[in-house]
């Protein structure tokens, strides 16, 4: 990994970081990846990853919920007429 990779990852993950921090992260990444790399040497054969993982579906039925609209809208960082307000996208 190099500093360009870190910059790219920070952009993808939408994390604003200083140049200094990116340098420090690069060092941490190298050491962590150095540790986790040991899984490369594992012979796993033809094991299927997580064979018992399956989707859990439910009927799309309307059920009454106890959510309070007030508690939810109070959390909005920005709002107008009870609606969530975001910056202009177009």
């Amino acid at each position: 990994m190099n500093i360009k990779d870190v910059e790219n990852l920070a952009e993808l993950a939408k994390l604003d970081m200083s140049g200094e921090e990116k340098e420090a992260m690069l060092k941490d990444m190298d050491s962590i990846l150095g540790y986790v790399k040991q899984i490369e040497e594992v012979e796993v054969g033809d094991v299927k990853p997580s064979y018992d993982v399956y989707n859990v579906w439910r009927e799309d039925k309307i059920e009454p919920r106890e959510f309070s609209k007030e508690i939810i809208t109070e959390e909005f960082p920005d709002k107008q007429d009870g609606f969530l307000k975001v910056k202009k996208i177009l």
Partner: protein, 475 residues
């Protein structure tokens, strides 16, 4: 004066039934210790102003005969478990003022029993850490030795219980976050089977691993909490349905065969910890248990696989914190949407959270996905197979809980890998989804607690309680 030090859930319940003290008196006794000690320990981030009111409500159930074993029992709740109308910050600045809009299922159940929620406890930010030092709200100190860490990530709950600032406590585990602080603070910690307790209303870190986990001062306390909270919940897609639970449950008690994977701790384990482990084994031998060597060749890769799978899930889970709907937002200071994301997340997340988000983004990115993430899933599967195969021959797998005892505040903060290694023995149970219990096993020469941990097959918690209680007699 209530003797808080020797109080257990059962003893408290008995006293409440007999009227030796009231729910209010019990809660006030804990509030008094909180006032005395919390400033130094920083176990609680907030103590709820309605705690006494909750106790008065609980008292009514003793009068009208509807009290259960948990009625009036004070609980400390980790800061990543939602309680309607209360702040749940997950130890992070990005959720500093976030008020939960609903109760987690485990909270709903505790309220139904009439338990008293004393407050929310400190934790590593988003449960990312093994020492409660990554919290945005300062470190928590270990009541056993206040110059040392309580372990983590559920360090606040552990310190609250070990310091008699509560009678019961909930934490969460993704990889050792209850067993490791239990070990460092001299408590019992139970990591239940994945899917036993509902995850609904828990702020997710690694969904395929997270599990609500109780602390107790004795095995029986964790058993009582487990029995009250373990149930199928349709709000949680990975909650295990009753038919499957019943099929997997232990068919017999009296399990006596313990497997020890010696090859896993040839190195990296503190001498005194190893010595204590051997002494504990001797005690089991004398008590009629059969001890056998077992091999878990893939288990040594557990932590490496974990540090790929978990960050991958982290980077996905934490993408919801974007400064738009709730939590910290930079929206007043910037002009465009992208900067709202960049600045809110850049400032709101602490260093360890940023580190894991980047790492997760990397292992999931095109070109590395197969080499890291897919490979790690396969290794996980191997580990699970191996653990399940071991259980064909033995009833329990026994290891030390942590390779070391509680370390000093400030240590390991500059070396992520050294910090991660605290959970080397925790990882196999989380990856395989099996239950595991950490048990106090003595005191070191510098007066710090030792701990051993048992693993058992899925939904064999009863066996863990059985062997745990036996150890309380013979240790």
């Amino acid at each position: 004066m209530i003797d808080l030090k020797n109080l257990t859930i059962e003893k408290a319940h008995e006293s409440l039934v007999k009227g030796e003290f009231t729910c209010k008196e019990l809660v006030e006794a804990y509030l008094k210790t909180i006032t005395e000690k919390n400033k130094e320990l920083n176990a609680y981030l907030e103590v709820y102003s309605d705690a006494v009111f909750q106790a008065e409500e609980a008292q009514k159930r003793f009068t009208n005969g509807t009290a259960t074993i948990l009625t009036g029992i004070p609980f400390a709740i980790k800061d990543n478990i939602l309680i309607e109308g209360k702040i749940a910050s997950a130890g992070s600045k990005i959720l500093e003022n976030y008020k939960a809009s609903y109760d987690a299922t485990v909270i709903k159940d505790l309220k139904k029993e009439g338990a008293v929620l004393l407050g929310r406890t400190n934790m590593d930010e988003f449960a990312m850490g093994s020492s409660t030092q990554t919290s945005a709200y300062g470190v928590t100190r270990n009541p056993v030795d206040t110059f040392r860490v309580p372990g983590g990530s559920s360090g606040g709950s552990a310190a609250a219980l070990a310091g008699d600032l509560t009678l019961a406590a909930l934490g969460t585990e993704t990889c050792g976050s209850v067993r490791e602080p239990s070990a460092f603070c001299g408590l019992v910690g139970l990591k239940p089977t994945y899917g036993a307790l509902s995850r609904h209303g828990i702020i997710a870190m690694g969904n395929s691993l997270d599990q609500v986990s109780p602390f107790g001062k004795c095995v029986r306390d964790t058993e009582i909490i487990f029995n009250s909270l373990s149930r199928y919940d349709k709000e949680d897609g990975t909650s295990v349905p009753d038919v499957v639970r019943n099929k997997m449950k232990a068919a017999h008690s009296g399990a006596k065969k313990i497997g020890v994977p010696w090859h896993l701790f040839k190195e990296g384990v503190d001498k005194e910890v190893e010595e204590n482990f051997k002494q504990s084994l001797e005690k089991f031998k004398k008590a009629g248990y059969e001890i056998v060597d077992i091999e878990l060749p893939h288990a040594q890769y557990s932590l490496a696989a974990y540090y790929i799978i978990m960050p991958a899930e982290v980077s996905t889970n934490l993408s919801r914190f974007d400064g738009i709907r709730y939590g910290y937002s930079a929206n007043k200071e910037v002009d465009n949407l992208k900067d709202v994301y960049m600045k809110s997340r850049g400032r709101g997340f602490g260093k360890e959270a940023r580190r894991r988000i980047l790492l997760g983004t990397y292992v999931l990115s095109h070109g590395y996905y197969d080499a890291y993430y897919n490979k790690a899933l396969k290794v996980r599967e191997k580990i699970r197979e191996e653990v399940m195969n071991a259980f064909k021959n033995v009833d329990y797998i026994l290891t030390p809980t942590v390779p070391i005892t509680a370390f000093k505040l400030g240590e390991k903060m500059d070396d992520p890998v050294a910090m991660y290694l605290c959970d080397i023995f925790s990882a196999p149970a989380n990856l395989a989804g099996v239950p595991s219990i950490a048990l106090p096993s003595g005191i070191s020469s510098n007066k710090l607690p030792f701990s051993i941990q048992f693993m058992a097959p899925h939904f064999h918690e009863n066996n863990l309680f059985e062997v745990g209680k036996k150890f309380e007699e013979i240790r």
